[in-house]
Symmetry: C2
Subunit: 586 residues, 2 copies
């Protein structure tokens, strides 16, 4: 029997609850967002007792379905003020799923200003004092917790940034090597966890993938085989990602003139080659470290890597595209060791790397460091963990830092910093940034696939009529984020119809549903509509679905184009008739 764990931090109580029928067919993002919509007042203070933080493995997480070990975390975001779901790989999600944990809901606030640890294992669930790990960085936390609870323990935790309730605090999941680098990073959910007084969750189980109930084993196996085959066939998932990691995109986006550089003042970085996936691969070959590293057992894509110091010792894992870009190109930094060190600080202190890199770039624009000065950037970022006034500014993210220093070139939507794709050079991704329920977020509708990579068709990156494209990608993504599959399966399933069928069949096999491939987008839209309603009740309007003004005014080299997608297009993206599919199935 699947259960929900409810943790009330105010009275330090934990209890198991039945899974309400309305949540039975949900997992991952659709589940965290549904619980947030049902239980959190949209106008509550994100750091107050009214907010909740919800953890949910995806629908097929914990099974033998390939690359399906994602954990969704939801709540009201301290960064955007709207609903938030961020998901991560790493090892905890599969363990939770195998324990039959559909979701963990953390509510209330510890009254004694102390931090606690939630222990979940085959024997049950306990809330314990966490004085031994409070105040510590995630590397040390993970080490202590493996010593205490055994190697292989799943750890979900926050660093000092989350404890200090900073709006850029993320939530770490450990990888198979116990590195803290798999982050549900975006939107400050680490601060929500911190505001509750919850430092970490440890998860252990003896149960295996066969303990996850599957309604129709035959259909499930048929689906996962189709999907696995597609992943093993597609050039992106079978070659590019395992060989070069996600940073394979550095040269591609630079070539396209869409690699945001020096705080979004150029689309091309002269140092791109030095921080590219190819360079990471080459250096890793020389020094040691690893490419093709899986972030959880059962991943067949293995986009992760381990970066080694010049002496060959472990430095940080992974250095992936977004971090490499944010802490590199966007700060004008072309030294991979500096980027790796910045990345390591983020992982340790508990920060989202995208937001941190954009924050540093704004700080550089404000004169706190020269663009390209990696050593000074390391100094600045080190302030966050100390909680100094400067650290408080930087730890609260890009928009906050821009306001602190009166900087108007602030690349954020709904208060969340843009990822590594320039809206002025790739319009569709800008439409996603503007209209996503999550704030600027490439993972909420990755139109880069057709616009740049010729995956899932081909779209002219400069064309502005992208409402339908953005809608389709956002809806499909919503579905994938719900399944527990890694979003990177999209590369394969967009091009290989059998792969797409395989995904749906895997889900149907598990749940006993008979969703069609056509249902994917309609279910996704319906769940998106729910998130939109939350945001509206939280105070968002069309004005929040916009790209920052400076991008409409400043032409971006090398294409020298401005943001010129009409507001009409943006307002069309979510102008759909919400279907009643969910009401039928739940």
């Amino acid at each position: 029997m699947q259960k929900i764990i409810r943790v009330n931090m105010t009275d330090a109580s934990v209890r198991f609850e039945e899974v309400p029928e309305k949540y039975r067919l949900l997992g991952g993002r659709a589940l965290t967002s549904s619980i947030v919509c049902d239980e959190v007042a949209p106008d509550c203070h994100p750091l107050g007792p009214g907010n909740k933080v919800v953890f949910a493995p995806g629908i097929v997480t914990g099974t033998t379905a390939p690359s399906s070990g994602r954990l969704s975390v939801g709540g009201k975001s301290p960064l955007t003020g709207g609903i938030k779901e961020a998901n991560a790989g790493g090892i905890p999600a599969q363990k939770l799923a195998r324990l039959g944990i559909k979701a963990i809901i953390v509510e209330g606030q510890a009254k004694d200003n102390r931090f606690y640890l939630l222990k979940v294992d085959d024997s049950g669930v306990d809330l314990l004092p966490a004085d031994d790990i409070a105040g510590k960085g995630m590397y040390e936390v993970n080490k202590i917790l493996w010593e205490k609870y055994g190697e292989g323990t799943g750890v979900i935790g926050i660093g000092p940034a989350g404890e200090m309730r900073m709006a850029n605090a993320g939530i770490s999941c450990n990888d198979p090597d116990n590195g803290p680098g798999r982050y549900a990073g975006r939107g400050g959910l680490g601060a929500v966890m911190g505001s509750k007084g919850l430092k970490a969750i440890v998860v252990n189980t003896e149960k295996g993938s066969s303990d996850v109930p599957v309604a129709d084993k035959e259909l499930f196996d048929q689906g996962r085989k189709k999907l696995t085959k597609a992943l093993a066939t597609h050039a992106v998932t079978s070659q590019a990602l395992p060989t070069y990691g996600t940073a394979v995109l550095i040269n591609i986006m630079n070539e396209a003139g869409g690699l945001p550089t020096r705080n979004f003042s150029s689309g091309r970085f002269e140092g791109a080659a030095k921080i590219s996936g190819e360079a990471i691969n080459e250096t890793t070959g020389q020094r040691g470290g690893a490419m093709g590293h899986p972030c959880h057992p059962g991943c067949v894509i293995k986009c992760s890597n381990v970066w080694a110091r010049p002496d060959g010792s472990y430095h940080v894992a992974p250095v992936e595209y977004e971090s490499d870009w944010a802490l590199g190109a966007n700060c004008g930094i072309d030294n991979l060791d500096d980027i790796a060190e910045l990345n390591r600080i983020c992982n340790d202190v508990g920060l989202d790397t995208i937001e941190a890199g954009c924050t540093l770039a704004v700080a550089m624009e404000a004169g706190l460091a020269d663009f390209g000065d990696g050593k000074k950037a390391i100094e600045l970022l080190s302030e966050v963990g100390k909680g100094s006034p400067l650290g408080r500014i930087l730890g609260n993210g890009t928009a906050f830092t821009a306001k602190a220093f009166g900087i108007t070139r602030c690349p954020t939507v709904k208060g969340q910093a843009m990822p590594a794709y320039e809206p002025r050079a790739v319009k569709g991704i800008g439409v996603t940034y503007a209209t996503s329920t999550m704030g600027a977020d490439h993972t909420s509708g990755y139109t880069i696939a057709p616009e740049i990579l010729s995956v899932g068709g081909k779209a002219d990156p400069m064309a502005v009529e992208k409402a339908e494209l953005a809608r389709a990608f956002q809806a499909t993504t919503m579905f994938i984020d719900t399944t527990g599959f890694c979003l990177f399966i999209a590369f394969a399933i967009l091009d290989i119809p059998e792969g797409f069928e395989g995904m749906v069949e895997t889900v149907n096999g598990l749940l006993g549903t008979s969703w069609t491939t056509g249902d994917v987008a309609s279910l996704g839209q319906e769940w998106l509509a729910r998130e939109r309603r939350f945001n509206e009740a939280a105070g968002f309007s069309q004005v929040d679905d916009r790209i920052p003004e400076f991008m409409t005014r400043e032409p971006l080299p090398p294409h020298n184009t401005v943001w010129d997608v009409p507001d009409r297009v943006l307002d069309l993206v979510h102008d759909y008739q919400v279907e009643t599919k969910q009401e039928q199935v739940s």
Copy 2:
């Protein structure tokens, strides 16, 4: 002929323009807000080139009408993100009016990162380099400018906070002694002025009140005499304010249990008597300084004062109720010399005292100082002018500081800090805070008059059905803020019908209109509706018309009441049918 001065900072050009017919009957707030609505895109960045800062004397300013020397300043607020009008006394407004300047519109942004000075006098208008005053505090600025342009010169300027584009930067107007203490303080318009590269405006003229054109001299004189008589008759305007200053309210509000204390955690301050108007009067009697000080020639109320140091030397002017409370009771500080020093820092650096005091209180709650520690508060506030990271936090106001330190007890509406009246103890003022176009602002609808002072009728402070009351006060206030009369005439005209008639007759006499006393509220509503439309287009919704969540949860001593006004009441305040009066008259 009245003129508008348009200053384009981008190309450093200045020009006189005709006054468009639609602005002919406007002045003060209705004029600045109309220009902002007509010329500023509601979704522009408040510190970008798209915003403007507009200065406008009131309709009757510059004449012999009593207490009518107000200057309105308007723009899009960096603090609230909505439309903003803040008005101040001091000597510049009357001079501008006598020069026939209906408004000064400052647009664009200086391209060279330098600061400029606008000189307006009988010979015309000039934009000049201001290198000699850039970076300097307002005390020194005013001194230099009187030396350079002559004693009696009107000075409008910003301190370092405005130059650094901090969201709590105000705009100073000098008083007859050349003190910089008359501030258009609220909402960060000093940062907008700073973002344009405009450090100060100096105004000189040989012209007198008789140079202001009056359409119907007889009616005008009849009106101003009625009004003057009412002001000389009413106990508040003729006795309480000149004798004790506005701080006469400290004991009154403390007695009512509505004096916010230690970051809005109590409604009563044990040190109230030590910082009361009575105490200020007594100490001033002993040390020197002054009570009954007018902030501009022609003021018959004279609520201002001059606070002297123990040795009798000039310290700061004025120490008025809001500053005294914000920097005193709300920080738990009961030492008037510490409060005066904090006030002086605000005046010098260029900060709104209400916002600064609430900011310090939040910082105290975050542990940066103990409540009541005046010396430490002075240290903290001194950081703002230095532009240190801590100064950047504090200089950006209360909500910003709360976010920096993860504090949820944040007494702001639309990002602007609450003044010295507790919504939990006086519900009507809370309705005004919640629903004002300006963010939390007592001067936008002073329901304290009937709720506490028995002026303009009597209302139970604990009653929650205050939509009509708040609407009536906001509309009438909008009208008064447009006339150029000091809002304090309201005490007299609310109780003395002839005074109210006198105000309207004075305005009609000047303009040649035939507005009735009944038109006051309908015109006010119409102008308010325009501000509301701007805010809506800037992204505000009903969710922004709310009192902070913590006040609905935390009972306030001594009455132990929470904020319990239903949202329905708040949403009723501006649910009026906008009349077309303005269209008829303009």
